[in-house]
């Protein structure tokens, strides 16, 4: 799963002609912003090393990130972040918000969704994500996660997916499911396709042999086989169409 690392999209001109983010400016901002973003469990600080350049250190439970300040500045330049105090501070906050998900957060707040299982976007599988505001970040189990914990976290996440409220829009013979704030969560309802079918039927749409058309991070479409084929067959965008009983057989990623 890939995410823009520094939040909102920069303008085209800004990305084509980025202005360099100076390491010294980033350091000034980091010294001010990092303490404010820290919490009792999330520790953020600058590690100053004479002659070797500073490191940003992020520690939360079992997760630890150490990133060269110069590297972060280069990444911000490439992402088209403007070199103002405010924009650098926003980019740094967005970078912290996109930090790795801890095992504890996944266990207590994880939600199961569908994601691409390969870079070429040809197959999908289940993944645990954790919501942070308008983001949903993927969880990668740490090396200390044993099989029992892994199973428990995935099972709890699947349970939580049942409770994710989704909007249903009926467009003729097609039912469309979306999440009003976090697009990644649109596939959460697929943990219980029978409940989706029931809601579709309650909305007045008969759907024998329901197929689901899934593009992770986009609304989910449900329709009969011929209509699902017409829907997905006429777009250049990647998607996976499958009969709903096969959802339970998809692997965990």
């Amino acid at each position: 799963m890939t995410y823009p690392r520094f939040g909102g999209s920069a303008g085209l001109l800004q990305r084509l002609r980025p202005v360099r983010i100076d390491v010294a400016d980033l350091k000034d901002v980091a010294q001010e912003v990092l303490p404010a973003l820290s919490t009792p469990t999330l520790r953020l600080h600058l590690l100053q090393r004479p002659g070797a350049g500073s490191l940003v250190v992020l520690e939360e439970d079992e997760r630890q990130l150490r990133v060269h300040l110069a590297e972060l500045a280069d990444d911000m330049t490439r992402a088209g972040v403007r070199p103002t105090h405010e924009d650098i501070a926003d980019a740094l906050a967005a970078w912290v918000a996109r930090r790795p998900v801890t095992d504890a957060a996944a266990a207590t707040a994880g939600v199961a969704v569908l994601d691409w299982s390969d870079r070429n976007e040809t197959a999908i599988g289940w993944r645990v994500v954790v919501r942070r505001g308008e983001l949903a970040l993927p969880w990668s189990p740490s090396s200390r996660t044993d099989a029992t914990t892994l199973h428990g976290t995935r099972t709890s996440a699947t349970g939580r997916s049942h409770g994710v409220p989704l909007d249903l829009r009926v467009e003729g013979p097609v039912a469309l499911w979306s999440h009003p704030e976090v697009p990644v969560l649109a596939t959460a309802a697929l943990v219980a396709p029978e409940r989706m079918l029931q809601r579709i039927t309650d909305a007045g749409l008969a759907m024998a042999d329901m197929q689901v058309v899934v593009t992770p991070r986009r609304p989910v479409a449900c329709a009969g086989p011929a209509i699902a084929a017409r829907l997905a067959g006429e777009t250049t965008e990647a998607s996976v169409t499958l009969p709903w009983p096969r959802l339970a057989d998809l692997p965990w990623l």
């Binding site: 003729g172 097609v174 058309v213 593009t215 329709a223 017409r230 965008e237």
Partner: protein, 115 residues
């Protein structure tokens, strides 16, 4: 040697026709009127029903994957409600055979460029 194609026919080619919301409503109204007001050949009925389905599917396609149509709208300056409605040759012929089809919609479906 036979020049006839063998085996099952390949998937039909669907050609996009860019129609605004009001034009899609006019197209749907004309098709429904034809289907309910007089006897229509059973094969044409299937094609016309598929046109009604496509009008919904076009809207659904845009809801799931809005980027490609949005790029075309940006390049052409068309309004936000202009969507590609994808029809097979048989579906298009069935629609063009309807006397009640409004002239501007007929013009767009016949291949005349959008204003």
């Amino acid at each position: 040697m036979s020049a006839l194609p063998s085996g099952a026919p390949g998937p039909e080619v669907l050609v996009p026709h860019w129609l605004a919301g009001a034009q899609r409503t006019q197209l749907a109204t004309a098709v429904r009127q034809a289907l309910t007001s007089r006897p229509v050949h059973p094969v044409a009925v299937i094609h016309l029903e598929d046109v009604l389905t496509e009008l919904h599917v076009a809207a659904a396609r845009d809801a799931v994957w809005p980027a490609s149509a949005a790029r075309v709208r940006l390049a052409t300056g068309w309004d936000d409600d202009v969507l590609p409605v994808r029809l097979s040759a048989a579906e298009l012929s069935s629609v063009l055979a309807l006397a009640e089809l409004p002239a501007p919609v007929r013009g767009l479906l016949s291949g005349n460029a959008r204003a």
